[in-house]
């Protein structure tokens, strides 16, 4: 019998998060306060976060205990299953062994509750009555809404207006879990009011929504702010994914040659690969390959740098120059596959700069092609973001077919695509194109590039 699923008993669920900061070959650079130029201290972040999360942000302890109350809630959906994709392997006719760790069985349908629950817990423990956050399409907002409902804390979500208007289902999910969700820009903050005065029909952006959520939190003593990606403590909470997978791969008597995941804010991928990369750092598994995939339309790691930057005269790798958006930029809707315009997690950037992980870019039609193939072999309708991982995992599996190698490929699968069916519909009806922006629009946009003051 082929064993296609590896279940971990609930009693064997990991009880500690793994902190990569203990094992980095070079520590993350310190952050300087933009005004004082002194290192940023806990008190600088205290208006936004509970102290325990601030401590985790800078901790270099290798293992951090998962509080019992958080474990109890984790056990409502964890451990998640590790799958062996036999049907996919046969469809690809590859000798590669393909495994995927599926986080879509959480109540919110993604990996996001791993940190949402933890953040809600630490806030309530320190007396926070109310939390604010931002959300793009609603995956993070809905996960935090669930986490806040478990701990009976109020949540207000600033949702990017274009998603608020076009994608109502996650908003409804948030409201079902008891959160208040409003469109950003809003009239509830001074930042939102200022934007609406200048641009009444502004579709919003993630940067603007963050700014509103931060302003809201800073303006009230009973309120903190919560972020679902990028920050060290967020990635820390996600490491339960990889720690579970290590135990499950052992059950399968396997070890990955290649780990594939997508990067937006980096939290799911980091949650899977950080517990493995320590083997590469220690020298135990020097040949382990970790591949992050990003959209070709927003290739922050692989391409999105002006060419001369690669010469790097100031000793800074290109990736370090390209992590955040100017927040006046409103992106054109050219990519249906998510992963657009996030800041990159410093830990991932750092590991990339150290040469410990690789990056590749994928076109949107190719990722949906992979998503459809996966649905028709493994049955799961994959979210657009993890479809990136499928595409690159398939490429690696097909390379094995050419070479005859039987490599073990592990896919970080962050969740289902049940709220993204309109993107699948566009793909299946042939509407999605990789190069479809009208030439006159390109010309117009470039003519409107601002002048650079001397």
């Amino acid at each position: 019998m082929e064993q296609a699923m590896y279940f971990l008993e609930q009693k064997d669920m990991p009880t500690q998060w793994y902190n990569i900061q203990a094992d980095l070959p070079e520590p993350l650079p310190p952050y300087l306060h933009p005004m004082t130029k002194e290192p940023i201290g806990p008190e600088d972040l205290a208006p936004l976060f509970p102290m325990e999360l601030i401590k985790q942000e800078v901790s270099t302890e290798r293992w951090i205990d998962i509080p019992e109350e958080v474990q109890d809630i984790y056990r409502t959906w964890r451990p998640t299953v590790l799958h062996r994709a036999y049907r996919l392997e046969k469809a690809l006719d590859t000798p590669a062994k393909i495994f995927y760790k599926y986080e879509g069985t959480s109540q919110a349908g993604s990996h996001k509750p791993n940190t949402a629950v933890a953040q809600a817990y630490y806030n309530v423990k320190e007396g926070t009555k109310r939390i604010t956050t931002e959300t793009g399409a609603g995956q993070w907002g809905s996960a935090l809404a669930m986490g806040c409902s478990f701990f009976d804390v109020e949540l207000k979500v600033y949702m990017v207006r274009i998603s608020f208007d076009q994608k109502p289902y996650r908003r409804i999910l948030m409201e079902t879990w008891g959160a208040k969700c409003i469109a950003s820009p809003s009239t509830d903050t001074k930042g939102g009011q200022a934007m609406l005065e200048k641009w009444p029909d502004c579709p919003g952006s993630l940067g603007l929504a963050i700014s509103e959520a931060v302003e809201d939190a800073v303006s009230r003593d009973d309120t903190h702010y919560s972020l679902g990606s990028v920050l060290n403590h967020v990635l820390l909470h996600q490491t339960i994914i990889g720690e579970e997978t290590r135990k499950q791969m052992e059950m399968a008597d396997a070890y990955p040659d290649i780990i594939v995941g997508c990067v937006g804010g980096g939290s799911n991928f980091a949650g899977q690969f950080l517990p493995w990369i320590r083997d590469k750092i220690s020298g135990e598994k020097p040949d382990l390959r970790v591949i992050c995939v990003e959209p070709e339309s927003c290739p922050t790691m692989t391409r999105g740098v002006y060419a001369y930057d690669f010469g790097d005269t100031v000793g800074m790798a290109p990736i370090a120059k390209m992590h955040t958006l100017g927040h006046t930029f409103i992106p054109p809707p050219i990519h249906a596959g998510g992963l657009r315009y996030h800041g990159m997690a410093p830990i991932i950037s750092h590991l990339y700069q150290l040469g410990l992980i690789e990056a590749v870019a994928a076109h949107q039609t190719a990722i949906f092609d992979a998503g459809v193939k996966f649905a028709r072999t493994e049955g799961i309708v994959t979210g657009p973001e993890p479809c990136h991982n499928l595409k690159v995992a398939f490429d690696e599996a097909l390379k094995c077919k050419e070479t005859g190698e039987s490599k073990t490929i592990l896919i970080a699968h962050s969740g289902h695509g049940h709220f993204d069916l309109s993107a699948y519909d566009r793909y299946l009806s042939g509407e999605l194109k990789d190069f479809a922006y009208p030439e006159e629009e390109v010309k117009k946009a470039l003519e409107e590039l601002p002048e650079i003051p001397g």
Partner: protein, 56 residues
């Protein structure tokens, strides 16, 4: 206002954006655009300061 530092990533699929930038901007100007971005923690601290100012 500067052009967004992400414009290469957004436009590389449609035109030869690097050539376009070479033809329209001096290297010194582009140095101002492609500056290292701020880490998230730093931008959050900035937002805190801005929010405090708005509240005053």
């Amino acid at each position: 206002m500067f052009p967004c530092r992400w414009l290469v990533g957004c436009w590389h699929m449609y035109i030869d954006i690097n050539t376009f930038l070479d033809e329209h901007y001096a290297k010194e100007e582009l140095d101002k655009v492609f500056v290292p971005p701020k880490p998230k923690v730093v931008s959050l601290v900035e937002m805190i300061e801005q929010a405090k100012k708005r509240a005053d």
